[in-house]
């Protein structure tokens, strides 16, 4: 399994070489600075500000939470300036301000709602038969805004999908869709495939699976064998993001023409557009206008 290395620092890269060790003692293995007697947890924003938004080596931010410790929010990037103007013309005096973009932290038990039940049942379901264990398969559990997100290791996805569909305590019969998200700043896990599952049997329970793959190895196993409804959705995700779903019966482009170069929904693919002249003034194309992201 690949531990998600959220930041861009070299230390988290080295930690990915030895995931088991890094996981077992909560980051001390990955610690490269001699400050081993530091308190284990820090307030995330303080840490982020000290390090300019990048996670410190001492705190791999995206590992499964040890019981009893408060997990850190996940830094997925940083924002510069006071207003985030795309043209960089921040004259407020706060132009050098750097603040991290924090995604919701991993959840600690109890998750609340039906989420604990689902997690327990999945742990049991993965326990028997398959050689995939829950600890290997589920890298991180996020409960945010009343939704459960399981970050699943890509090689474990088919087993997890099968368990989710077939286990009587889970019975997620329907995969309502696959969506992709591109995070170019997340080294090693740039491309995410997001699956939404629905269990009708258990009264419309919904969970989300999130699977990531690095940009230079864009492979995720297909779940079409388990959920035939994912067929076109995976084709769309391949078309738009370039994620290759291994084992898909016919992974071809679906929305773009067959001979189209590139994958349009990736962040490095330009929106395109031409400047428009209107009453003497020129309006630039949408992606070149000033924006505040």
């Amino acid at each position: 399994m690949t531990p998600p290395s959220e930041g861009t620092s070299g230390a988290s890269g080295s930690a990915s070489g030895e995931p088991e060790a890094a996981r077992s003692d909560n980051g001390e293995k990955a610690e490269v600075t001699p400050a081993a007697d530091k308190p284990e947890q820090k307030v995330s924003t303080t840490a982020a500000q000290e390090t300019g938004g990048a996670p410190t080596a001492a705190e791999p931010p995206n590992l499964p939470a040890e019981p009893g410790t408060a997990p850190e929010p996940v830094v997925i990037g940083e924002r510069q300036g006071m207003f985030g103007s795309s043209l960089g013309n921040d004259t407020s005096g706060y132009g050098g301000l750097e603040s991290p973009i924090l995604f919701p932290a991993a959840a600690v038990r109890p998750y609340g709602s039906y989420f604990d039940e689902v997690a327990d049942a999945l742990e049991r379901g993965l326990g028997d038969g398959d050689d995939t264990t829950y600890g290997d398969a589920v890298q991180r559990v996020v409960v945010d805004r009343g939704e459960l997100t399981l970050h699943v290791a890509r090689e474990a996805l088919p087993a997890v999908a099968r368990a989710l569909r077939d286990d009587p305590a889970l019975r997620f019969e329907v995969c309502t869709g696959v969506s992709g998200v591109h995070y170019p700043q997340e080294a090693g896990r740039e491309l995410h495939a997001v699956y939404h599952l629905l269990s009708i049997t258990h009264g419309s329970r919904r969970i989300r699976l999130e699977v990531s793959c690095p940009d230079d190895d864009r492979h995720i196993p297909s779940i079409v064998a388990t959920y035939p409804s994912a067929d076109w959705h995976e084709r769309e995700t391949w078309d738009m993001f370039g994620i290759e779903f291994d084992g898909h019966p016919s992974l071809t482009r679906i929305l773009m023409p067959d001979d189209w170069p590139g994958h349009p929904q990736r962040k490095d693919y330009p929106l395109g557009g031409i400047p428009v002249e209107y009453k003497g003034a020129t309006v630039p194309p949408p992606d070149q206008r000033r924006s505040y992201s």
Binding site: E147, W232, E236
Partner: protein, 454 residues
């Protein structure tokens, strides 16, 4: 008379050498109107059993720019594949370059027969990201429900109308569109536009109902009900229609679940799954309505479900009218950091910002002007995270998966369009049947290519 060409092993639409090589496998006929008889004779003279017919994307019976690739053995379809993408407009990509409020203007154009649903799905997801789901004013939710249910009737009417037209029944089409026009006229009065409204916004709806709107809706309901009944009399017991639709496009419950089919297709198997009941949103749990099902699993059952659902929708609309009269505004969230400051009003030169508002920002308060300018040009920030809210659209489960990175624009907005998913059933519904049944089966899915291709 349009041109009609036949070529010995030459495909005039071939774009590459490999395409031409493919064409060398068999003879390619290009039919674009004209003398079909000679074409058929010529095709028959080759003595080839296997014919691949490319139906669409420009074909009056494929429900829009849908391309059906049918492999035929005589008149029997042995293999059916759907080719989509001819109406891909990059709406999801474009939304990443506009503010959250402007995103509504894009997504309303996806499935153009259910614009209000597209808007609501996006807004509910955005509101969940913002954490303001509980703070949406009640009147705004009631208006959303009223608009959605009217829109559901309009969408089902088009489904039946175009379905009838594709089977050759133009009266069905004219009645369907005539009744839908009443709904569009209500929409025009309330939102200013017949389609592509951008009326539902994150935080509520853009403006309150104009004077007279409730009366107009109340007056229209009996007329629409009468029109639906007329259509029902024309269709439901019609022997020709039954001959065309009964046992056509059959998909049972197992198939529906495996293929993720929702909406009338799933309910025609007798399974009463409706997001309005199972995961209520916009206060649907407080309305009195029934989930309509049929038990035939075929195109005829879907037709019955659509009829029954229209009557249920009108029942809900009547309930919303009663509530609207006793529920005063506002129709937009009180939070001034989210709600646009503009108050629209109708002036002598058309719709625009109200004079009171102009007076305030231009004459009285510089801060109001700055606030207005910043909120409209820059937009509001949405806390980082992701959300998915499903709603029950006329075609099935419609959901928006939205991701925010804390900025003023969506980091990613993906729509789970029911038509996109449901079109996967074309092969299951059509293979083994007659070519004429393909038309009926596709019409019973009711795909709208604007939503499929986005």
């Amino acid at each position: 008379m349009t041109e009609q060409t036949t070529h010995e092993t030459e495909d005039i639409f071939a774009t590459s050498e490999s395409d031409r090589d493919d064409a060398a496998e068999g003879r390619v006929f290009t039919a674009s109107g004209g003398d079909w008889e000679s074409l058929a004779e010529e095709a028959a003279s080759i003595g080839e059993d296997r014919i691949v017919v490319n139906m669409g994307p420009q074909h009056p019976s494929t429900h829009g720019v849908l391309r059906l690739i049918l492999e035929l053995d005589g008149e029997t379809v042995t293999e059916a594949r759907a080719g989509i993408g001819y109406l891909h407009t990059g709406i999801e990509k474009n939304m990443e370059f506009r503010t959250w409020t402007q995103g509504v203007t894009f997504c309303t154009r996806m499935d153009y027969l259910m614009p209000i649903f597209n808007e609501t799905a996006f807004c509910l997801s955005t509101e969940k990201l913002l954490g303001i789901t509980d703070r949406i004013p009640e009147r705004a939710s009631i208006i959303r429900v009223m608009m959605m249910e009217l829109n559901r009737v309009g969408s089902h009417l088009v489904a039946l109308a175009t379905g009838g037209m594709e089977m050759g029944a133009t009266t069905v089409m004219t009645i369907g569109f005539r009744e839908r026009e009443r709904i569009l006229s209500i929409f025009e009065m309330i939102t200013g536009l017949r389609m592509n409204h951008a009326y539902v916004r994150p935080g509520g709806v853009v403006q309150d109902l104009p004077p007279g709107a409730i009366d107009k809706v109340r007056d229209a309901i009996p007329q629409i009900r009468r029109g639906i009944h007329e259509l029902e009399l024309l269709l439901v017991e019609n022997p020709i229609l039954k001959g065309r639709t009964v046992d056509v496009g059959y998909v049972d419950l197992t198939g529906c679940i495996a293929l993720g089919l929702t909406g009338p297709i799933l309910r025609s198997t007798g399974f009463p799954l409706d997001v309005r009941k199972s995961e209520p949103y916009c206060g649907y749990e407080t309305y009195d309505f029934e989930v309509q099902t049929a038990n035939t699993s075929d195109a005829y059952g879907r037709l019955l479900v659509r009829f029954a659902e229209m009557y249920e929708s009108l029942k809900i609309v009547e309930q919303t009218i009663d509530r609207l009269q006793s529920t005063p505004g506002p129709v937009m969230i009180e939070d001034k950091k989210i709600a646009w400051p503009a108050q629209l009003s109708l002036g002598g030169d058309g719709m625009g910002n109200s004079l009171d508002h102009i007076r305030e920002i231009m004459g009285d308060s510089m801060e109001s002007l700055i606030h207005h300018f910043k909120l409209v040009t820059e937009g509001f920030r949405v806390p980082p995270g992701q959300a998915y809210v499903p709603i029950e659209s006329p075609k099935g489960e419609l959901g928006a998966h939205v991701v925010s990175d804390g900025g003023t624009r969506p980091y990613r907005a993906h729509f789970r369009d029911p038509s996109f998913n449901n079109l996967q059933a074309v092969a299951a519904m059509c293979e083994g049947g007659m070519i004429a049944d393909v038309i009926v089966a596709v019409a019973s899915i009711d795909p709208v290519m604007g939503g499929v291709d986005r």
